[in-house]
Symmetry: C2
Subunit: 212 residues, 2 copies
Amino acid sequence: MARTRGSVGAETEKAIRKAAVELIAKHGFEAMTLRDLAEHVGLQPGSIYRYIATKDQLLVDIMAEHMETLIAAWRAADRPDADPRLRLEGFVDFHIRYHFQRQKEVVIANLELRSLTPDARRACVGLRKTYEGELRGILEAGITQGFFSPTDSGIATNAIISMLTGVCFWYSPKGKLSADDIIAIHKRLVLGGLSGTPRGEAKIIPLAAGRN
Amino acid sequence: MARTRGSVGAETEKAIRKAAVELIAKHGFEAMTLRDLAEHVGLQPGSIYRYIATKDQLLVDIMAEHMETLIAAWRAADRPDADPRLRLEGFVDFHIRYHFQRQKEVVIANLELRSLTPDARRACVGLRKTYEGELRGILEAGITQGFFSPTDSGIATNAIISMLTGVCFWYSPKGKLSADDIIAIHKRLVLGGLSGTPRGEAKIIPLAAGRN
DNA sequence: CGATTAAACAAACAAGCGTTTGTTTCTAAA
DNA sequence: TTTAGAAACAAACGCTTGTTTGTTTAATCG
């Protein structure tokens, strides 16, 4: 046996990527064997090297591509001139929805940073900071415009990202709540938290009705 | 050479544990070599087996002990009959403070679940659920008593735990903000989020002044 | 002091790892 | 129909891994 009938490189490459994402998300990068990966794709171990440079590079590719796609998708969805409260709701919606449909990539991007070489890690951390910077911008705009109560925007950004990303780790589509339900709950948690009323004061959150 | 002068088993065991926690937190369980671990403790690889049954068991011990200590510490700090809002503040305070001083164990407990054998994983997940159940109980009490706006307590529990635990991954004592600052910010985020005002309504958070 | 046990070493083990090399088979353009 | 290149195999490479075994030295206790 050698070349299998009907095999096409582009398809094999995608199959490798998909299987790799699955295996890394399930067992971790270090625990995934190239032999294991090859078997899942129906190849011999050595054949993988027609499609990857090295095992490390495979991880880098997966992570970097995911982060770049994520950032681009958000920027296409955002309306930078809109009301910060609406933008924030949009961010929560986008983040959770996007992360639901790429749950495995998200798990990898969040757990496997330490498996990267220092250079690659720096690059991926940079991309992550870029994405977080988008949320931070919204928070700062909202604070400046008086919609959110003043707080350290960096800390708040981290806290919110942690909360929203955490969803990927425990959410199951088989649960009783739909994605929409979960998004709604998180919108309330986030927006409520930011308008965090200093102890004992009254608080009003006026927001144009009629939009989801 | 054989037995080194002044060596005591109990101390060696602690040194192994400490080094293991450090290495696993930094590089991941699979990436940590027993040879690497041995070197950090100043032993030969084989000598480690006087103190551990197997590499897997070492991880199980670290994780289980951490979770059990965490639960016990919280139960000692909680006042189950107090106002749910105070208990919630107490939980935020406890969780962050405790996790700050055990940052590495927390990282392990959250990242290495998948490196456990199915049995061990079930056990650790059970312990985690027990801990989360404590927070959930507070939320439900608060909702029942009308202090928190009704929501799915399970989802809210997960969201809050994600947010609070996330701190361990990005917090650095060298930052400009103290632990107290960060705790205060998170208290606001959590309590504010739970009193999440339905759109456009007014909201009051009366809480006994004078405490922290 | 002498015997026993605790604590470590030294050396190897089989298995598995990522990766390379050379070859074989299929596909497609000439 | 011949031929160049694409896609895979088969087999091995050197190395590292977790772990075991037998031995040696230090401490302890009667």
